[in-house]
């Protein structure tokens, strides 16, 4: 079973890698957007899935990544910039994590929401008052297909990490933490350490996703890269698929992304209205996530089978 899983994964990865070869620029753009949300939703679920901390800080890290690229674009090679961006994301995550992971429930939600806003305000203030610039240009020659391949790599790393964590003792710990922190503590789990580590890893991945895509935009401003919609999209995609499962966020991100893209091109004037209705519908129709439907079907099939036997 395991080898089959790995094999399918590899085939899928190779398939995804050759996809851009057959399609044009718009296809590349679509692939970038899709892969970006696959990474974001999977990285989000890496931390929020098992711990059940609903984070709206996604765009804080995404923006930090993009903005780091904008600042360093003329000074370092792209690879080095990615390393710097990841490190900045890591530092911010550790700092924020140490301070906030003791907040529970809605307080964490709102804190994480406020965090993105605070980071944006501080960067804006620093740029305008200290640097006297705000918009920054990114003139890095990276093609859309290259961005896609980098994101694909990041996606493979993210899913690989999630798979590894799920099969390691860390996976036990995070699931236990999500259920009952007291039990986890008494079982010897350093709850704060584990949560912090997960938050940091998830944040670095999100930071990199932002950094990799930044060259696509040429011009970056805090208000452009700290767009809170990204946080909510990530959240809804991960929840739609089911954040507790390895493939859940992917299963949520792909159809939703294409749905939104379709809505945006077909109904540009009713875009917001339809988007809103889709959000509401998802909550009412698939409360446990798409992949949980598979479980339900299987349970039903099993029940039917048992009935047939009896």
């Amino acid at each position: 079973m395991k080898t089959f899983g790995i094999l399918t994964f590899l085939v899928l990865a190779v398939g995804m890698a050759v996809l851009p070869l057959g399609i044009g620029d718009y296809g590349h753009g679509v692939l970038v957007g899709m892969m970006s949300y696959i990474v974001l939703a999977s990285a989000w679920a890496l931390f929020s899935g098992p711990t059940r901390y609903v984070s709206l800080a996604t765009v804080a890290f995404f923006g930090i990544g993009a903005y780091t690229v904008a600042v360093l674009a003329d000074h370092l090679p792209f690879g080095a910039i990615l390393v710097v961006a990841g490190s900045i994301g890591l530092c911010v995550a550790l700092l924020v994590g140490l301070a906030t992971l003791r907040l529970a429930g809605i307080y964490f939600v709102i804190f994480s929401f406020g965090l993105a806003e605070l980071v944006r305000q501080l960067i804006t203030w620093f740029e305008t008052s200290v640097n006297h610039t705000l918009g920054r240009y990114i003139f890095i020659e990276v093609s859309t297909a290259q961005i896609y391949w980098m994101l694909l790599g990041l996606g493979i790393i993210t899913l690989g990490l999630r798979w590894w964590i799920g099969n390691s003792r860390l996976g036990l710990a995070v699931n236990a933490i999500g259920d009952d922190e007291t039990v986890a503590r008494h079982a010897g789990v350093n709850v704060t350490g584990v949560k912090l580590a997960l938050f940091a890893v998830s944040s670095v991945l999100i930071t990199l996703a932002g950094a990799i895509q930044a060259p696509r935009w040429t011009y970056v401003e805090p208000s452009i890269v700290f767009n809170p919609t990204i946080s909510f999209m990530t959240l809804v995609m991960a929840l739609l698929g089911g954040p507790g499962r390895l493939w859940g966020p992917v299963a949520g991100a792909v159809p939703l992304y294409f749905l939104f893209e379709w809505i945006a091109t077909r109904f540009p004037d009713q875009n917001a209205i339809i988007l809103g209705l889709v959000f509401v519908a998802i909550v009412f129709l698939v409360p446990g996530g798409l992949l949980s439907l598979i479980d339900k079907w299987r349970a039903r099939a099993r029940a039917a089978g048992e009935q047939a036997h009896a």
Partner: protein
């Protein structure tokens, strides 16, 4: 400068406080995290704008009319959208995630509808722009009136919460919803009424805001965020806390703008907010 900055801050904080009041009721009593809250405010503002600009009616009349409308709209919304979610939620965390997602969707929906009906340009009208001198600060009469209305609604609400059976019941639900049935309170209808009440206040806040400030179809998110900050600072469900925190944020913004750097006003708000969350997550006035 010191006193006039204080006055400016208080006037600014008055609107914040009024808007936050409704949210603290919705979240504290009905236990719904309503991210579409600001959209109700904007709906109230558009309603009054429509009355004033196309029918030539007084904004004050608009304020009076918008309150029952805001109540009815939110009351219906609770029954149609949130009650099923409350019923199906297996634990508080589930309800919270569901309501965040649903209300985020409603936010989009409302913004789309506003844009469709009113366009996305600035809407506004001029009313009571005569200056009033308060301790050296010249403030628009409309704004001062806004502050007065905020104080009036806030104070009236506080009194009602203290003195009437209805208010005491709502406070009891806010305090320990699980014990409410023991004293004959139907939790569901109390939550519904509270949600409606919050919506009425939100709409009133929008009506007041429209009296001195132009607005657009997409301003709601910003208002929700401000209100959220204030609600958390004041303590969830704490009316007095929301009033105090609203005024406080207004004053802090005025002083930071005046004494430090206007570029840091919002950063200061969020820093204080995050500080409160970490230092006293139950709110400053718990």
């Amino acid at each position: 400068m010191f006193f006039s900055t204080l006055v400016i801050g208080l006037v600014l904080g008055g609107t914040y406080a009024l808007i936050a009041l409704g949210l603290t009721i919705q979240y504290g009593i009905a236990r719904i995290m309503n991210l579409a809250y600001g959209e109700i405010t904007i709906a109230g503002a558009f309603f009054v704008f429509l009355l004033v600009s196309s029918m030539g009616l007084s904004p004050l009349l608009g304020l009076v009319l918008v309150v029952p409308l805001g109540f009815a709209l939110s009351w219906l919304l609770y029954g149609i959208v949130f009650h099923p979610l409350v019923k199906r939620a297996s634990h508080a965390g589930q309800l919270e995630i569901d309501s965040i997602l649903v209300t985020f969707g409603l936010m989009f929906l409302a913004q789309g509808l506003f844009t469709m009906f009113f366009g996305s340009e600035f809407a506004g009208y001029s009313w009571l722009q005569t200056p009033v001198n308060l301790l050296g600060a010249k403030i628009a009469a409309g704004r001062v009136l806004g502050l007065l209305i905020a104080v009036l609604i806030g104070g009236g609400l506080w009194l009602a919460m203290q003195r009437t059976r209805w208010g005491v019941n709502l406070r009891a639900v806010a305090n320990h919803p699980e014990f409410a049935p023991l004293v004959g309170i139907n939790r569901n209808s109390a939550a519904r009424v509270a949600f409606g009440l919050g919506g009425a206040i939100a709409a009133a806040g929008g009506a007041v805001m429209s009296m001195y400030q132009p607005f657009t179809a997409v301003d709601g998110g910003f208002l929700t965020m401000k209100a959220l900050v204030i609600v958390i600072m004041g303590g969830v469900g704490n009316l007095g806390g929301a009033l105090m925190a609203g005024l406080m944020i207004g004053v802090v913004e005025a002083y930071v703008s005046y004494a430090i750097d206007p570029g840091l006003t919002l950063a200061a708000t969020y820093t204080i907010f995050l500080g409160v969350l970490l230092w006293r997550p139950k709110g400053l006035f718990a």
